[in-house]
């Protein structure tokens, strides 16, 4: 339980560093939410862990970290397989908190065009993410 609370506090600190300042009540709510999230995450991780030898035997990914033992269903490298480089870059930029209008400017196109090209990929990500939430 201590580990769970520590992890929640760590997440909360990160959130507070990167977001707008929150009041005491909001911080309390945030912590409660993060503790519940961490409990669910650990329950899900324990339920999915499959021992197949060492993770070093698994196919390499861009992060070759043998400490990772959990195969996450929400794997963006797999979800975005087959997408064009400009869609991949646009999604990376959106992930980096650029607005769609800024992404369009960076890619030399219009906001409507870039959103249309990313629409299918975003729908797939959303489906996977909702699937994850329902499982938890």
């Amino acid at each position: 339980m201590v580990e769970i609370v520590e992890s929640a506090i760590e997440h909360a600190v990160r959130r507070l560093k990167t977001g707008d300042p929150l009041g005491p009540e909001q911080v309390t709510q945030l912590l409660k939410r993060l503790v519940l999230q961490e409990v669910r995450r650990r329950r899900r991780a324990n339920g999915r862990m499959v021992f197949v030898g060492s993770s070093e035997e698994l196919p390499p990914t861009s992060v070759r970290n043998p400490q990772i033992q959990i195969d996450c269903a929400l794997d963006l490298e797999i979800i975005l397989q087959g997408e064009t480089p400009d869609v991949r870059l646009a999604l990376l930029l959106r992930y980096s908190r650029f607005r769609w209008s800024e992404i369009a400017a960076a890619l030399g196109t219009t906001e409507a065009a870039v959103r249309l090209r990313c629409k299918r990929a975003i729908e797939r990500i959303r489906e996977k993410q909702e699937g994850e939430q329902h499982e938890s």
């Binding site: 707008d20 980096s96 960076a106 990500i125 959303r126």
Partner: protein, 102 residues
């Protein structure tokens, strides 16, 4: 409705995209990407920074997004790296603060 409220009370409201308690997504998919960031931060620790692009590339991505290539970013590595995600969020936050100060 919530958008309007958020804008009306801008001084002391957190923005819609940054509010952690709104249970539905908004028009520009901010909540989706915020949850993705949380997912990556929680599931993909990479303390040894294996496969990470140079921090200068990430800075360039934030400052001049049109000049960075997927190859320089090691393709979709960032989607599987908590350290890169954390650094990106910090750089983005700093940039916003710089812009606000100007």
């Amino acid at each position: 409705m919530i958008v309007a409220l958020s804008r009306s009370f801008r001084k002391d409201a957190v923005t819609l995209t940054e509010h952690p308690f709104i249970p539905f997504d908004n028009e520009d998919d901010s909540l989706l990407f915020e949850k993705l960031q949380e997912h990556v931060l929680a599931h993909y620790p990479n303390p040894e920074r294996m496969g990470c692009p140079d921090p200068a590339v990430l800075k360039s991505l934030i400052d001049n997004p049109g000049d960075v290539t997927l190859a320089a970013l090691n393709d979709l590595h960032i989607f599987k790296c908590a350290e890169c995600t954390r650094l990106l969020l910090e750089l983005r936050q700093k940039k916003k603060q710089r812009e606000a100060a100007e």
